[in-house]
């Protein structure tokens, strides 16, 4: 089963053709662009962020999910109200594992699902009144710092003006109320929702409080959602290094932290796809540069810490970071050494999200495993091929739907964080800003890169490669496992984690070890299926008589031996 990968690994070009050949012509034409063989030196162009093909069985969700669910939902102390029929809000209730440890006395509103539960009459006559009333009721009950409103598909269609309702509520209640036009149909995937959320958080929260944190080396972590406690681990590691994390967007984060996150001196981007807009806008408006980091995988974590230290350029910090890295690496060594021999050489494939399918490759590589195929669910070409392709990406009708904010340098608050000389010196030393190189440059030559993988393609992939493990989401999990291959969910971490930084890496190594080596996969076939039918009753061979003293308890009684197959007769 899972421990018998196809050997040799099949030709990816053949696998690709197997995937494509079942498709009707029009579908094939589209999917051809989204399935490519990698070249790390010159990543080939991949079709990405295009419309999902109807009927294909996609992994993707909607704009609302990307907005309410991903980027803003994790802000724990504001009230989130979904405007629409009950379902959209219901499904985004506690189903993403953005953990939060609210400060003393604060409420974690993520435990609450609030929506307007629109009924037929309100759909016919408009829901603005109900929304306004819902906001008032929420305020009366909870007195939150802020209320955030999300539109679902039917709301866009009936034309409720949620932004006006929000503005009026803001005036009436004297708290911050803002709205997101994140109707599910707005984009081709969750990605559009990320952009809409970035815009809204930037416009409505960032910059409301100019009080800087008191700590040294102030940074924000952008695009980290604290699934399974990843952000807790990152915060702790940064604390050990003496780096101050002003805010994590968005995981274990309060409204107030986001309001003052523009006072930090560096933005560190984890998930490029979901939050690069915020990084860019903050740079333009406030002068905060951004760098790409990755806290998944020990090597990447070390690299990211070194990069942050190099940016601040302070000897004491650089030394401290080196000490922490050395300590953590040492602590991790025993785990790697124990686990690696059991995992080495096994095959893995990852299809998830907009950054994890890339980041998690590092952890597998640290175990000596081979990534035969990977792809994102909702990323864009730059996440595959690197940001240098940005100027060549065509903006299609679907992307044009999403507002691009006109951001300018803030006349009072823009402050270049580094002098031109400092920047020059950094860059001369090989330091790069705004620098995501994408997934493909770090993958093997001819590895299969698949954007928005369909069920059919996944089915073929598993049949042909027989990987030892596949990473994807909840909808695919049990499909993959029915095929006898363990599947690690990389959205929810299968309710495990944390997997970030060195401590998390140890958890992940052990988890992968468990998954690819657990006995259960070898028990699928019942013993009787391993032998042909005997077709006759067993023959009971009489035992030679032995004296009582000789017989051990184990041999007492009658022995039943099946007849060897060769001698079995059908009467």
């Amino acid at each position: 089963m899972s421990d018998t990968p196809r050997n040799p690994v099949p030709d990816p070009a053949v696998v690709r053709e197997e995937m494509l050949k079942a498709y009707p012509a029009k579908t094939r034409k589209k999917r051809e662009k989204q399935i490519v063989l990698n070249d790390p030196d010159a990543p080939p162009q991949i079709g990405a962020n295009t419309r999902t093909i109807p009927g294909i069985i996609t992994q993707r969700g909607c704009t609302y999910a990307g907005c309410r669910g991903v980027v803003i939902g994790p802000i724990y102390d504001i009230v989130h109200i979904t405007h629409g029929p009950v379902g959209c809000g219901y499904y985004s209730w506690l189903t993403r594992r953005n953990l939060a440890r609210p400060e003393e006395g604060q409420t974690n509103f993520m435990q609450y699902c609030m929506n307007t539960d629109m009924q037929e009459d309100e759909i016919i006559f408009g829901g603005e009144k109900k929304l306004a009333a819902a906001i008032r009721e929420a305020y009366a009950l909870f007195k939150p710092k802020a209320i955030s409103i999300y539109a679902t598909c039917p709301i866009g269609l009936i034309g409720d003006d949620i932004h006006t309702v929000a503005r009026q509520a803001k005036e009436e209640l004297g708290i911050n109320v803002f709205a997101f036009s994140c109707e599910g149909y707005k984009g081709v995937s969750q990605s559009a929702g990320h952009h809409i959320a970035n815009n809204g958080v930037f416009k409505n929260i960032v910059g409301l409080d100019d009080t800087p944190d008191s700590g040294e080396y102030r940074i924000n972590i952008l695009g980290e959602y604290n699934i399974g406690g990843d952000a807790f681990e990152i915060e702790e590691l940064l604390r050990k290094c003496g780096i101050t994390c002003t805010a994590t967007l968005s995981g274990n984060v309060s409204y107030d932290q986001i309001a003052r996150c523009h006072t930090a001196d560096l933005n560190c981007v984890m998930c490029h796809r979901s939050i690069n807009y915020m990084a860019e806008m903050m740079e333009t408006k406030y002068g905060i540069p951004w760098i790409k980091v990755n806290f998944i995988g020990a090597e990447s974590t070390a690299k990211s810490l070194r990069k942050i230290a190099a940016y601040f350029g302070d000897k004491a910090l650089i030394d401290r970071v080196e000490r922490v890295i050395a300590q953590e690496m040492l602590a991790l060594k025993a785990t790697v050494e124990e686990v690696r021999p059991r995992c080495e050489g096994k095959l893995a494939a990852l299809f998830v999200g907009g950054s994890r399918a890339h980041h998690y490759q590092d952890l597998f590589k640290e175990l000596g495993m081979q990534i035969v195929s990977a792809g994102y669910e909702f990323a864009h070409r730059d996440d595959y091929e690197g940001r240098d392709v940005l100027p060549t990406i065509k903006v299609d009708a679907d992307s044009r739907n999403i507002e691009e904010l006109d951001v300018e340098a803030d006349p009072q608050r823009f402050k270049a964080r580094r002098s031109p000389e400092q920047l020059e010196a950094l860059q001369a030393g090989g330091f790069t800003f705004s620098d995501y190189e994408g997934m493909m440059r770090e993958m093997d030559r001819r590895a299969l890169v698949i954007d928005d993988i369909s069920h059919h393609e996944m089915d073929q992939l598993i049949a042909l490669y027989r990987p030892s493990i596949v990473c994807c989401g909840i909808k695919e999990k049990y499909i993959v496992e029915k095929m006898g291959v363990p599947c690690k969910q990389l959205h929810s971490y299968d309710y495990g984690g944390p997997y970030a930084v060195f401590t998390g890496a140890a958890n992940f190594y052990r988890e992968i070890d468990r998954m690819v080596n657990t006995r259960v996969w070898s028990m699928i076939m019942p013993p009787w299926q391993k032998q042909p039918e005997l077709g006759a009753r067993p023959v009971f061979t009489p035992k030679p008589r032995r004296s009582r003293e000789e017989a051990s308890p184990a041999t007492r009684g009658r022995a039943v031996r099946p007849v060897p197959t060769e001698t079995a007769t059908t009467n």
């Binding site: 079942a22 498709y23 009707p24 579908t27 419309r51 999902t52 093909i53 109807p54 009927g55 294909i56 069985i57 996609t58 992994q59 993707r60 969700g61 909607c62 029929p85 009950v86 379902g87 959209c88 809000g89 219901y90 499904y91 209730w93 189903t95 409420t107 435990q111 609450y112 699902c113 609030m114 307007t116 539960d117 037929e120 309100e122 759909i123 929304l131 009333a133 008032r136 009721e137 929420a138 009950l141 909870f142 679902t152 598909c153 039917p154 269609l157 599910g184 149909y185 707005k186 009708a397 679907d398 739907n401 069920h455 059919h456 909840i474 999990k477 049990y478 499909i479 029915k482 006898g484």
Partner: protein
């Protein structure tokens, strides 16, 4: 935990907080999986379908296959015909189901997409493979709940597929309602043991509780076949279980194929199971076998054995109407006191029904349809209960109230496994419910009682 919830309950007119229901399509999608070789299809934006598949997967821990029309803005403005056509072409081209069961979403409902017209066009263009079936149900989520969606899709099965040939068959139709596969299996077992001949649809056993054999089957062996559903039009009668989920289909069979019907509660607890067994026996003209009488006797035995732990305990219950009503009946049979009874699904009939079961002794109980868990929690804060019964979301309330004994029951259960294999219907299911309730109460006692009262034997 839920620390913004206080005991002061105020009426809300607009804001739903912590719903005790969800939207129609998830029920429709689930029902459609109870047809053999059927691929459910969600006509709207893809987010709904992603949510429904995810949530059902979390509940069943099984593959939940479905497709979507993946509307973008264009489709939302110009209608979804082209998306539907593309979807059906791909579905039949790639996944080859026998049946595609389309449900709408709020979006396609608001646009007003005419699904039968789309089917007609697809068929007329010669694109529908020989022998394949298209069925659909309208499932606007601004009406009813997930239970309504289940009912609508089940009725659609009868509407599209059942036929009357003129010859009445010696078979009973069973419409099992919104039950888990293990429960559907138990309903079938009971009917089979009594000796009834029947067709049951939808039937998700062997679809959403499949064994691990190292092979993925896109269409597992379970599910009612098209031929079976077709033949339902010739059955001598229909027994529908659960008014909310099953009456629509039973009515449909009556009006389309003149099959008379009877309705009963889901066989949860003693009385409702008695009624079910009695109905089957009567309709199929059989006598109840000793086996089933033994099971019933074992249940009564257990009820008397455990009575001391359950008697007069105050209980809060929430869930779907078809589940909650017989459960309340059972709690009353156990001399327990349902203090709060809540469903998120709208419908005054629920309140009347439950009130009747509670009788004068339960006059001070709060019974509400179209209500949510925030209100329930507020009431519980004001006047506590001994036990909470409901779906997984209840665990937040249980923890907020100092680890109140909590029994998971209904849909969805996202954090425990028993519902996947062990039924709560029938006499045996009732025994499992008693075990779950007494376990919860005794675990609490063992956790919290002073050491001198910690007992070996209970």
């Amino acid at each position: 935990m839920l620390n913004a919830t206080t005991a002061e309950h105020t009426e809300r007119k607009a804001l739903r907080i912590n719903p005790a229901k969800t939207c129609q399509p998830i029920g429709a999608l689930y029902a459609a999986l109870g047809i053999h070789k059927c691929l459910p299809h969600s006509h709207g934006s893809q987010g709904c379908c992603a949510y429904h598949r995810s949530q059902l997967t979390r509940h069943f821990k099984e593959p939940v296959m479905a497709t979507t029309s993946s509307f973008t803005e264009g489709a939302s403005v110009f209608g979804g015909l082209s998306n539907m056509t593309q979807a059906l072409t791909n579905i039949f081209g790639i996944y080859q189901p026998d049946v595609v069961a389309v449900h709408t979403t709020c979006l396609s409902e608001v646009i007003g997409d005419d699904i039968p017209m789309m089917f007609k066009k697809f068929r007329e263009d010669g694109k529908l493979p020989e022998g394949a079936q298209l069925i659909h149900a309208n499932t606007p989520s601004f009406k009813g709940s997930h239970v309504t969606g289940f009912a609508n899709m089940t009725a659609a099965m009868a509407r599209y597929l059942s036929e009357r040939s003129g010859e009445v068959r010696d078979q009973l139709n069973l419409i099992p309602g919104y039950l888990d596969p293990a429960d559907m299996r138990e309903v079938k077992r009971l009917a089979t043991e009594i000796g009834a001949r029947f067709v049951m649809f939808p039937d998700t056993s062997d679809v959403l509780d499949t064994p691990q054999v190292g092979r993925f089957e896109m269409y597992p062996k379970g599910g009612a076949t098209v031929a079976q559903i077709r033949s339902a039009g010739d059955s001598f009668a229909t027994l529908g279980l659960g008014f909310w989920a099953s009456e629509a289909a039973a009515k449909e069979l009556e009006s389309k194929c003149e099959v008379p019907y009877e309705m009963g509660e889901l066989p949860i607890g003693l009385g409702a199971t008695d009624a079910f067994v009695d109905a089957i026996r009567r309709l199929a003209a059989k006598s109840v076998p000793a086996n089933i009488e033994r099971e019933r006797g074992q249940l009564i035995d257990l009820m008397s054995d455990m009575s001391q732990y359950l008697h007069r305990k105050r209980v809060a219950v929430f869930g779907d109407p078809d589940h909650v009503i017989p459960l309340v009946r059972f709690l009353v049979e156990l001399d327990m006191r349902p203090a709060y009874v809540v469903t998120g699904t709208p419908g005054k009939a629920f309140e009347e029904n439950v009130r009747q079961l509670l009788g004068p002794a339960g006059a001070d109980a709060k019974v509400k349809a179209y209500e949510d868990l925030f209100s329930l929690h507020q009431w519980m804060k004001a006047e506590p209960v001994d036990l909470l019964i409901g779906n997984t979301y209840g665990k937040y309330i249980a923890r907020a109230e100092g680890n109140l004994p909590f029994v998971r029951f209904g849909f969805p259960i996202l954090d425990r496994v028993a519902h996947r294999y062990f039924p709560t219907v029938g006499y045996r299911g009732a025994m499992r419910l008693i075990a779950a309730m007494t376990d919860a109460l005794l675990d609490q006692k063992d956790r919290e009682c002073p050491e001198e009262f910690f007992e070996l034997v209970q």
